[in-house]
Amino acid sequence: MGTIRQHLRVAAFLSASLSAVALLPGAAAAEGNTVVIARSFDFNSLDPARAFCDTCQIYLSNAYESLIGLGTDNKTLEPRLATKWTGNADQSQFTFTLDPDAKFSDGSPVEAKDVKWSFERLQNLKGGAAFMMDGVTKIDTPDATTVVVTLAGPNSEFLNILSAPYTAVVNSDVAAANGAAAGADAETADKAEEWFLANSAGSGAYQLVSYKADDEMRLKANQEYKRSKLSVTDVVFKHTKDAVTQAQLLESGGVDIAMQIDPDTAKTMNTDNLTVETIPSYNFLYVALAPGAKGAPKLTKEVREAISLALDYDGIIDFTVGGAGTKVSSPIPTGFPGTEGLAAPQQNLDKAKELMAKAGVADGFEINSEFPNMNAYGVDLSLLSQKIQQDLAKINIKMNLTPLEFSVWRDHVRGDGIPLTTSFYAPDYYGSAQYVQFFGMIEGQPWWNRAGGKNDASITNPETAELLKKALAATEADKPGVYKEIAESMMSDHIIIPVVSPNLVLAHSKKVTGVRYSACCNLLLNEIGVQ
């Protein structure tokens, strides 16, 4: 047994070694103020002309600049690279005067040719946000600080579009030298996407140091940036997929900001050294009906309205986000132009049953519901679908739920269509036209296609199309009124039924200041400070 004692000693030595490892010094920190941010990466690219995702918005708005910015009220347009702008009477031509002091991170000035090149590249590469340049027919650069953009027709929202980080202005000389192309053949000639994974070429507050997909992205302060004083020298984004892990990292001091903690997790956090704030967002989740989908039951307007009235909106908010959310009246989220005064949706089972009876389906029907098996903005789409299933059972509609991987869901929704699905949307910029162009029952638009407009012409709403034209030609003062008409028109379709706008949790260490939600850009690093 003496030998066993020796082995126990070995075991004790090993335990002591492990403990000693725990006492080893930590790694040397980088010099200056470093802020670490936990976020689940959804990057599809770091190339400004190809990127299109929530995390892309953050990267692009901090490493690059647009002509126009969005104020802290999330509504007012402010000068950025353009110090001033004017539009012609019918809003089909806009002239921008560039800031003569603006410089790219390599010290070269931001010139009109860079703006023209960046916009043309965005348009010709046909990447994720190319639609933002729809209607642009000509870009003139009479001198180094003047850009004139001509559109095919009036677009009162063009200035709002230019506040989106996707319209970032790129250092054309540097990018072109590294394989980027902006001409008509850009979609085949451009070879710069991989270069953009390791380099930035913008005039934003920060510049890219390194990026490792699924791991981390490092930024450092751009020494040429003069728009505001930067108090943070280095920013590290850590890919942290899970909300609970993000919360633990924040609590343990491993990160300074956690971006995707859901309201339920936020309630469980120890907030002694943290600021945890829950604020309304413009993101929302919706139910989408597709009368023209293969295998869909007869989803007449009455039936669609019955479905919208059968939903327990308050219950959905409680069930999915523990009450930390708000109702959304129309497919244009509350707070955007045209939504003031719209009535919040309410459950009305009696009226829903009456409408079902009127439509001849009082005994109900079965409907297939496929949805992406994921969590969007803190809402588990499985939970949401189960709640909707419970609600619709009250008017005798039996929902057959099928969760799908997002790629499979996309295939189905674009193919034969899905009779009833749930999905989500976050704004690309502050402006209402994007919602009409995406959700409106206008021939050829995304959700018209997905709802089966080609198979069921009755869902086409010509009024929405006409109103959109009117809105795009409207003055700033008239826009809210026209968009309100559009919102009501879209609500009457009962194709897109918004169910919840989940609140956003801003969680950060108390030593970090200036963290706020930006409708265009999510998180603006130049506003962040460290105490």
Binding site: T3, A22, L24, G26, V36, A213, Q248, L249
Partner: protein, 337 residues
């Protein structure tokens, strides 16, 4: 034995060709939209954009054309470009594989080492309290979901006690060492940065413990079962009758024979964990090959799916070979031919 090893090594490329072909066919015939990570949802109904994306990524070609093109590139070592990360799959794998290997090797050392010790003790003290305790510990390890044990251990040791760091491989506030091997514990030492080495070790402890606990559960139960079989054999009785010490009987006579069936499981588990440690990688934000594989599958990222399949296939083939060689060392009666 050398001829055996050479023959097996030569057969690996042929087997991999079969694996690649099957993976290619299955992935390309799976329902889903491979453009999910290429074309944004806003643009997916724009036929011009969809056509441009298909042409750029070669998805406009017929399946046989895509297959031939893939094989032609593969021969030159080009695994294609990931639809999702937009960089070479070879580069993606080289960045992630060392992280996974570092974690899996640490977990295997902890899991196999403690599993063998526990298994031997449980068999030696069969039906005694030490046996019951070892079996309970092993059962808990092999049946506890790693996402649960990971989160609980993180909460206790990182959040409450603050003894160990949170997820990740290194403190994000520190400057990572230059990429040499990709093993942070080695790269930090090569760079002479002992503080970073300590930090890398700190970060390795919890994920390796969590993953190693599962391995330990499997190994200790197997070792216990094999040891009980072996301990009832005549040659053990004979060894004891000759007056051999208990430790010598256990380690030299019993364990060496009991380990033979366990080696297969150790080899299999190692190969499995190369691509299967995804939950541990997710909880601990460990940028490894497991989570890369899952994201590739979820996004129908064909080049990445096939690239990971090649890695997984190679891991299984090599671990099988290593197991066969280990057999020969563990039991001299086994002759490889």
């Amino acid at each position: 034995m050398t001829r055996f090893i050479i023959r097996r090594l030569i057969s690996i490329p042929l087997l991999l060709l079969g694996i690649v072909s099957i993976a290619f066919l299955i992935s390309h015939n799976t329902q889903g939209d491979p453009l999910a990570s290429i074309v944004s949802e806003r643009q997916m109904d724009n036929p011009e954009v969809v056509a441009a994306a298909k042409a750029r990524w070669g998805l406009d070609k017929s399946l046989p054309e895509q297959y031939v093109l893939y094989l032609r590139n593969l021969i030159t070592g080009d695994l294609g470009t990931s639809f999702r990360t937009k960089q070479g799959v070879g580069k993606d794998i080289l960045e992630r594989l060392p992280a996974t290997l570092e974690l899996v090797i640490a977990a295997m050392i902890l899991g196999v080492g403690s599993g063998i010790v526990l298994g031997v003790l449980a068999a030696r003290f069969r039906n005694k309290p030490i046996d019951h305790a070892a079996r309970l510990w092993a059962l808990t390890g092999s049946s506890t979901p790693v996402f649960w044990s990971g989160l609980i251990l993180l909460y206790i040791f990182s959040v409450v006690l603050g003894w160990l760091p949170g997820p990740g491989r290194l403190d994000p506030r520190s400057v990572p060492p230059e990429f040499m091997t990709g093993f942070l514990t080695i790269d930090t030492l090569l760079a002479g940065d002992f503080a970073a080495f300590g930090d890398a070790l700190h970060h390795l402890i919890l994920p390796a413990l969590v993953l190693g606990w599962t391995v330990m559960g499997i190994v200790s139960r197997l070792v216990r079962g094999s040891m009980l079989d072996v301990l009832s054999q005549d040659y053990i009785v004979a060894a004891r009758a000759r007056g051999a010490g208990e430790l010598r009987v256990l380690l030299n006579h019993a364990l060496r024979n009991a380990l033979v069936p366990t080696l297969t499981i150790i080899g299999f588990t190692f190969a499995y964990l190369i691509t299967g440690a995804v939950l541990t990688e997710t909880i601990f934000s460990w940028p490894g090959i497991g989570s890369y594989a899952v994201e590739a599958a979820r996004n129908l990222d064909y080049p990445a799916i096939i690239g990971v399949t090649i890695v997984g296939g190679t891991a299984f083939l090599l671990s099988n070979l290593a197991t066969d060689i280990a057999y020969a060392f563990a039991d001299p009666r086994i002759r490889l031919s």
